[in-house]
């Protein structure tokens, strides 16, 4: 008996991270059948998953992002992990905001593997120091720094014009300008007043400003090419999740040193996250044991540390020692703990931790449409409200 795991971590550091999980499971005597489908941030894998489920042949576990766990649970395909969770004390060590995605109607259905933080600002230290620039902590400061950079002939912000990258910035701007409460109201609770408020107009204004700091050739650029621009000093900053670290390290730079990391402007004190879960499907009794072992293994502190060191993210449980993590990782860990306390640990909309797919898609559509056209902020706000309502 063993597990079949559907995931989209197929190459480089990600694959190495999966290898850790596989090894730990095989150490317990279970086999691991790998069903890897990369592409589109898991889009392809999810399509496959659906085909598999419809065919009556679901995998034991499948990698899913926050909100999708809930959607699958609603369809009634997921199994129950409560016994493992109780034994492992998951309820105590996993932050509530993350638990919310891993459970459905009070029962654990998916095991969180990691926590990614999308609201990072990465900066090329040399560019900043040689030009005497300070790390911006608000969007005003960001704008000022960016203008200076622009005058210097340096691209202020490296960006790839793909909808999810646009949306990542949007999350940062909403959080940075509106603050955690506004983010909660507008993005997570879809409060219509908040969505159509002046703050939202200001958010879109800032998006438009940011568009001005991005080079003209950004369309369709992959995020790692944008990172490479920062590495080369062609561009000074990038707003990207902590996975960008891998790209910097591969280029021989150290995050926190040559490449500075800071929370995105104005988001200090809040923590946006996205977490990869392994959702457990209802399987035969024979495989259930292996499945439980897999779930237990995922939440094992040793595994959480080992895995996240490779992956570049931070553990999903709060009781793992930060010592082995790099500077930015350590900051992440402490920030998450603080945010969990303060209730400002919130799911990232851009990365599927705020809304079901349909609404998320509608929001991203509006954001990207605005960002890539000369739509006015007011129109954008209106379009956002309409799209969200249409998708509900």
């Amino acid at each position: 008996e063993g597990v079949e795991v559907l995931h989209w971590w197929t190459s480089g550091g990600e694959a190495a991270a999966v290898q850790v999980l596989k090894d730990s499971l095989e150490a317990e005597g279970y086999s691991w059948e790998d069903m890897a489908v990369a592409g589109g941030g898991g889009d392809a894998a999810r399509t496959t998953l659906r085909a598999r489920v419809v065919a009556g042949d679901p995998p034991t576990a499948a990698q899913l992002l926050g909100m999708q766990v809930t959607e699958w649970a609603q369809e009634g395909f997921l199994g129950n992990l409560n016994s493992v969770a109780d034994a492992g004390g998951w309820n105590d060590v996993v932050p509530a905001a993350i638990q919310q995605f891993g459970t459905y109607e009070g029962e654990w259905v998916a095991a969180p593997v990691n926590v990614h933080r999308p609201n990072w600002l990465w900066m090329n230290r040399e560019v900043f120091e040689s030009n005497n620039l300070d790390v911006p902590t608000t969007w005003e400061e960001f704008n000022a720094v960016a203008e200076q950079l622009q005058d210097l002939g340096i691209i202020p912000l490296a960006h790839g014009g793909q909808p999810w990258q646009d949306a990542t910035i949007f999350d940062d701007v909403v959080l940075g300008i509106g603050g955690p409460d506004f983010y909660q109201a507008a993005i997570i609770d879809l409060d219509e007043d908040a969505l159509s408020s002046d703050t939202m107009v200001a958010v879109f204004d800032q998006m438009r400003t940011i568009r001005g700091f991005v080079d003209d050739n950004m369309s369709g650029r992959d995020w790692n090419l944008a990172s490479a621009m920062v590495v080369r000093g062609e561009a000074a900053m990038q707003l990207m999740g902590d996975w960008a670290k891998g790209e910097f390290i591969a280029a021989g730079l150290t995050p926190g040193d040559e490449i500075m990391c800071a929370t995105a402007p104005g988001t200090e004190g809040a923590f946006l996250f996205n977490t990869d879960f392994f959702a457990m499907f209802d399987v035969d009794a024979g495989d259930a044991e292996a499945q439980q072992a897999l779930a237990a293994g995922i939440l094992d502190p040793g595994f959480q540390e080992a895995f996240n060191l490779v992956k570049g993210s931070i553990p999903a449980r709060t009781d793992v020692s930060p010592d082995n993590f790099d500077a930015c990782g350590q900051q992440s860990i402490s920030d998450m703990a603080a945010a969990a306390e303060a209730g400002t640990l919130m799911g990232s909309m851009a990365h599927g931790h705020a809304q079901p797919s349909a609404i998320q898609g509608a929001m991203v559509d509006t954001v990207t449409q605005h960002f890539n056209s000369d739509m006015s902020s007011a129109d954008a706000v209106e379009a956002l409200v309409t799209a969200v309502n249409a998708a509900r």
Binding site: G12, Q19, A51, A55
Partner: protein, 304 residues
């Protein structure tokens, strides 16, 4: 004219061909000019791929993506072939070739054979409603794959071939017949009916006529159909990924897994090498099949 004896050099001037009066040397040069220019344009992306595949990652990260490599390394090719880690397996693309071959060979063979027979029936053994059947088949070619995915998964589940190579083969056959039928039927439409009449007088039956009379003159269209099906099946991702399971995924899924990473580091040189490696079988088919493209099959078939 024996098909087997033909090579790629076109027949000498003494052969009768449909070549028309590009008599003047000038227009001859112009023809070559256009063809070679087009070939160069077609080759640009390939050059770029080759260049990239021969660079190391530092050069790619630091330099012009379209420039030739400053020093050449074939490590990316080796890596893509049998070293690169695709998820938890670090054997490169090599093992997936077998899966793809096991899918592509039966899928192409069955769908082309069925298409040829269908085309034959639809032109030479017309029955009332034949045109309707043909029209319906053709229209079926336009069905969006997005809408077939879920019901097809269910059907495969019911048939018990979900997640298996036969299942993938089956799907490719189902959605390939429309095209292969189209190819053959429209090719056979211009074959003189007298040939089939003669064969039936000579005592050839339904199958004999097809096999002995039509197939030998079908090479150009078999080529076209094989190229179409082979390319389609070999490069298919959606069906392969949806209807196969972990250890029988085709090479495209592996390539995709190699190339696509959402939060990891991209190795463009390996990606390009992988893409080219996975295209080799298709290119091989083109070159082999291309031999059947030469003329001389129909000419002089009939008097009228």
């Amino acid at each position: 004219m024996s098909v087997a004896a033909l090579d790629d050099t076109p027949p000498s001037g003494s052969e009768q061909r449909a070549e028309v009066d590009w008599g003047a040397r000038f227009s001859r040069i112009a023809v070559y000019g256009v063809l070679i220019f087009a070939a160069l344009v077609f080759l640009v992306p390939l050059m770029s791929m080759i260049f990239t595949s021969l660079k190391d990652m530092d050069e790619i990260r630091g330099g012009n993506l379209l420039a030739p490599p400053s020093d050449i390394t074939i490590s990316a090719w080796l890596k893509a072939w049998n070293e690169a880690c695709i998820s938890v397996q670090c054997d490169g693309l090599a093992p997936y070739f077998v899966n793809s071959l096991m899918i592509v060979v039966p899928a192409v063979a069955i769908s082309v054979a069925l298409g040829a027979i269908n085309g034959y029936v639809l032109t030479m053994w017309r029955f009332p409603g034949a045109d309707w059947v043909f029209g319906a088949l053709l229209f079926g070619c336009f069905i969006p794959f997005q809408i077939v995915l879920i019901p097809m998964a269910r059907m495969l589940g019911i048939m018990g071939i979900a997640g298996s190579i036969p299942g993938v083969v089956f799907v490719h056959v189902v959605y390939g017949i429309g095209f292969t039928t189209l190819f053959f039927r429209n090719y056979y439409a211009s074959v003189p009916k007298e040939l089939v009449k003669a064969a039936s007088v000579d005592g050839a039956g339904f199958w004999g006529t097809w096999w002995h009379i039509l197939m030998p003159i079908s090479w150009p269209i078999v080529t076209v159909a094989v190229i179409w099906q082979f390319t389609g099946v070999w490069n298919d991702f959606l069906f392969g990924v949806s209807f196969s399971s972990g250890n029988n995924q085709p090479v495209t899924v592996a390539l995709n897994n190699l190339v696509n990473t959402s939060t990891g580091v991209k190795e463009y040189n390996v990606d390009m090498a992988g893409a080219m490696i996975s295209a080799f079988p298709t290119l091989f088919v083109y070159i082999v099949a291309g031999r059947f493209f030469l003329r001389g099959l129909m000419s002089g078939a009939v008097k009228g």
